[in-house]
């Protein structure tokens, strides 16, 4: 097994088991989506119209839930030094971390999004478009969260810093995912374009964020 694969398998296992794995962000997203209707009232038209935005927003916040743990523990317990001196570069490690975060922790988000969309009164195809948007956006959300997590690793109250760094950078994903759901709901024909933009943002994040994460981690190690 190559070093890259060995680190991915380990990180996936640690992400899936440590800190509750997918349970934390999933519970957060479910709770948020269950509470919103209580706050804005039972009008089905309002709920249906609000659904794409509310669901995309809940997924964004859920993706920030585990960002603090992505690198914080590794920095304090010496694991990051081990990785920095291992055959796997910090850039590759950043890709691995984000990949493990998506596939072991954030994966329920599109499913929860789909169920919530149906519960909020969206039709099947629209709920599917929204859910697909979340699938395409998750890598981007994870990479941006990871970038913020790397910058804030080892900093006191890093949760606050992560939210302040990541939230503005995740705005395009929020807009495209919600836009895809809303366009499908209203039949404007722009759902496909929004989905492609969400995917494009994730690809751009994949091309850029790992280098930023590696630079941030190197700085935290000094």
């Amino acid at each position: 097994m190559s070093a890259f694969a060995a680190v991915f398998v380990r990180e996936w296992r640690l992400a899936a088991a440590g800190g509750g794995g997918p349970a934390g962000p999933a519970a957060f997203m479910l709770a948020a989506l269950a509470l919103v209707p209580l706050a804005i009232g039972p009008d089905p038209d309002i709920l249906r119209a609000a659904a794409p935005g509310v669901i995309a927003f809940a997924a964004l916040l859920a993706s920030l839930q585990g960002a603090e743990r992505l690198f914080g523990d590794d920095l304090s317990d010496g694991t990051l030094e081990l990785y920095a001196l291992s055959p796997v570069s910090l850039t590759a490690l950043s890709v691995i971390k984000a990949g493990a975060y998506v596939s072991a922790v954030l994966w329920p988000a599109p499913l929860i999004g789909f169920v919530a969309a149906m519960a909020y009164g969206m039709d099947g195809p629209s709920a599917g478009a929204l859910s697909l948007g979340l699938v395409l956006a998750l890598p981007g959300l994870a990479l941006v969260s990871g970038f913020a997590g790397a910058l804030a690793a080892g900093v006191k109250r890093s949760g606050l810093l992560i939210a302040l760094i990541a939230a503005p950078l995740q705005v395009p994903l929020l807009v495209f995912v919600a836009g895809a759901g809303r366009a499908a709901l209203e039949g404007t024909g722009l759902a496909g374009a929004n989905l492609m933009l969400a995917g494009a943002f994730s690809l751009a994040a994949l091309a850029l964020a790992p280098f930023g994460m590696a630079a941030a981690l190197r700085g935290r190690l000094e």
């Binding site: 070093a3 060995a6 640690l14 440590g18 317990d77 920095a84 001196l85 000094e222």
Partner: protein
């Protein structure tokens, strides 16, 4: 110590090194070299730059000036880099796969951890964690230089003896060791560099 012609694959050369931390110069104009089989123990009060020097040699800290030429190395810092959810065996086999070297059982046996393979790292005592971290470090087959930061701090007498034997074996095979420590490690034939006393290394 004299600086000899450096064989970069097998030795360590530190030349005119200046290191600072938080604006304070810790190491000024340090020059030394290490040849295969040699061991160097860094001593000195807290805050005199022992850890910083080890981290600089490992490449984790950038020196203010000077050069470091180091053979492939393995580094063990203050932290044991263990995850409490992982079992001892998982931690070892991960490190073995990372370096493409066996499955790590032999190294566990050397450090007296064979009976603990199915324990999670969170259930180990501080000394057992240190032993495990040392065992893991030996799995890198390319490392010719071990950098150890307080390797024996939580170890009992038996652990210290095992560490001394491990280091002696490694040196006999041409490996080099640099350790920062307050405790007497009981290693034979080591050079000592006392940090924070003289401006330059001996």
């Amino acid at each position: 110590m004299s600086v000899t012609a450096l064989d970069t694959t097998a030795s360590l050369g530190v030349q005119s090194l200046i290191l600072s931390r938080g604006g304070r110069v810790l190491v000024r104009d340090l020059t030394f070299s290490l040849k295969p089989g040699e061991a160097l123990v860094l001593t000195g009060p807290n805050g005199t730059g022992k850890t910083t020097l080890l981290r600089a040699i490992a490449g984790l800290v950038r020196p203010d000036a000077g050069s470091i030429t180091a053979a492939p190395l393995a580094y063990l810092g203050h932290g044991d880099a263990l995850k409490s959810a992982e079992t001892v065996m998982q931690a070892m086999s991960f490190a073995a796969r990372l370096h493409g070297a066996g499955d790590g059982r032999a190294a566990l046996e050397v450090m007296g951890l064979s009976a603990l393979v199915f324990r999670t790292c969170g259930q180990l005592s501080a000394g057992q964690k240190r032993r495990l971290a040392l065992a893991r470090m030996t799995l890198d087959p390319h490392a010719r230089l071990w950098l150890l930061d307080e390797p024996a701090a939580p170890l009992d007498a038996e652990g210290k003896a095992l560490l001394a034997a491990l280091v002696a074996d490694f040196r006999a095979s041409g490996g080099m060791v640099i350790a920062a420590t307050h405790a007497d490690l009981g290693w034979s034939d080591v050079r000592t560099l006392e940090m924070g006393v003289s401006e330059a290394g001996t």
